[in-house]
Symmetry: C2
Subunit: 354 residues, 2 copies
């Protein structure tokens, strides 16, 4: 993972040296193409990449499919793009998920470089080794663990990001802080709002983002392939996939994560695992940063039960639900039977009026 | 890798113990379903597998696509089939390729058991860790390295196999023998025809198949992920993918391999790397076993040049062409420039009249 001014001289040279004389394909999301297209096309040409083109991929969740992956493979194949090739993805989580899977499958795997352009991607998708696409309504049902060769973080991409996207990234940072890093939580309380200002690529902001990236890597690295199914980073990701798909992705990922994490903090409070003070401090931070933390679907206990079923299946038959015990530490509720209807209902009622 | 009477008592019990209480899905090709369906359905029920069903997958090359993989993932998802699930593939190479890729992608990878039912699958596809599907005309362009948890070899499946399929398996065994194992070659000369007789599951036949399996594992294991791109087992697989696709898969895989291997033995002869005696001995064995060894496409030098381009791209930009130097050993021709038009033309002319 390097931090580099990708589009300016030195960062570009570093990337070019890294790629060397390997053939490359550069993929970007429509938004990135629109805003940074000229500079990225310039990069693609200097890399002597596929057809000297910047390839734009539609990055809606509806387009995150095996069909899109297949279209990428067909394009690569049409130019005898070989096994020594490198796929370079420049975009948010959806783009990195699609391009990562295509890289993992093309000729049974070629190298990939991940360049996150949203805050969420920089602190999460870009540094993970997961890729995946949706199958029907099932999020990321088809995917891989395939480590990138290089990850580049460039704060300049954040400068044009809508506030809603910044808030999604902050939600993921708060999630990470809650389960492992009280200092990060305090830092977000102090400086998180700076990422929402014009000067979001300030030194303070960069420091905060780097702190979150280090924390995430520290958490992911020992368990990159998820052989251990108890993962604290799954916090906020228990019912959030269903929140996203059941709202037809009107809720963005970070928003669903925030709503999920608050709900299970309240469940922790109901179970006596987490103090109410902590819950209120978490809620206050989310409110201050303008991050949503409730959705009417949570009032529907059938929805919660079925979302828990899905999470349980994904985690290998056990729930492995992380619940913070204080800000900066979590424990697992692995047995579904601890989450009785009464507990879930009480949490819903508290959440609705909080 | 175990040899077991899968459909009879002891073999079935061994498999059931291996699966334990994990959820399973059992996939079979249409032919296997038709001939062994009752016994396999019985197995599926005893495994308490998905819906107690034996799931039949169309296994034409035209059906070996990401769409078929997606259909499998959708089926698995519909029953909350979890990350601890096991995909069991029972069939030839195409079925194992499809099911292996589906297992590698489902929830970023679940366990798979590979049970080859053709001779070719038993000595090759089942014991490899490769899976893949076609993208357009490009064979196996989308694929993975994903090791099976268990491989079961059961000679009973061979008993109903058409001779054409047996010949395909023998071609792959001969290929392996040529590049690494003179004793295997001699054994095929002595006993290979037994596999074409009624009594093809005899002890002699089983010994011959096991010898080929051991040889293949010995060759694959140190380089399972193909980080070393010089692979002697690529012998017979240089222009054969194009032979298959350009004949719309009228040529079966083993037939294309035989045609490819004879052609490049002759190239070796033209280059002075392999003695004519050896070429004649190889040809004599193929003829005795009734395996084809020439196709008119080889008279077209443009076809050969474009097939070599494709192989070179697949092998990371260098040709890495294995050529036997005697029966049981091979060397690589990595520089394409050694294969001048004159050499290729002379080999074509010799091959056509041999």
């Amino acid at each position: 993972v390097i931090r580099a001014d990708l589009l300016a001289g030195p960062g570009k040279v570093a990337l070019m040296n890294f790629i060397g004389d390997r053939p490359a394909m550069v993929f970007a999301s429509p938004t990135v193409s629109r805003i940074f297209g000229d500079e990225l096309r310039d990069l693609a040409m200097q890399l002597r990449s596929w057809n000297n083109e910047l390839i734009t991929i539609q990055t809606t969740e509806q387009n995150k499919t095996l069909q899109t992956v297949e279209a990428i493979l067909t394009k690569a194949q049409s130019r005898y793009f070989g096994r020594n090739g490198v796929f370079i993805g420049v975009g948010g989580g959806v783009l990195l998920d699609i391009v990562g899977l295509a890289a993992g499958l093309f000729r049974r795997g070629v190298a990939q470089v991940r360049i996150g352009t949203t805050l969420l991607a920089q602190v999460d998708a870009a540094i993970g080794i997961k890729s995946g696409v949706n199958v029907g309504k099932a999020k990321n049902l088809a995917g891989l663990f395939s480590p990138p060769e290089l990850v580049v973080t460039d704060g300049r991409f954040l400068s044009t990001l809508p506030q809603r996207h910044i808030r999604c990234g902050l939600a993921e940072m708060i999630k990470l802080a809650l389960v492992r890093d009280e200092a990060l939580f305090t830092a977000i309380e102090t400086d998180g709002h700076q990422l929402l200002l014009e000067s979001r690529n300030s030194e303070t902001s960069q420091r905060l983002v780097d702190q979150a990236i280090r924390g995430m890597i520290g958490e992911l690295e020992p368990n990159a392939y998820e052989t251990e199914l108890q993962r604290v980073v799954d916090f906020g990701h228990t019912i959030s996939p269903r929140l996203e798909s059941d709202t037809n992705f009107q809720l963005h990922h970070g928003e669903a994560v925030a709503i999920d994490l608050v709900y299970f903090c309240i469940v922790g409070q109901v179970l006596g695992m987490l103090k109410q003070d902590a819950v209120l401090r978490i809620v206050a931070l989310l409110d201050r940063l303008g991050i949503p933390r409730w959705h009417e679907l949570l009032a529907n206990l059938d929805f919660i039960a079925s979302a828990l079923d899905a999470a349980q299946a994904h985690r290998g038959g056990q729930l492995h639900l992380p619940i913070p015990t204080r800000i900066g530490a979590a424990q697992f509720v692995s047995d579904r039977r601890n989450l009785t209807g009464i507990v879930l209902k009480e949490a819903s009622e508290i959440g609705r009026v909080l």
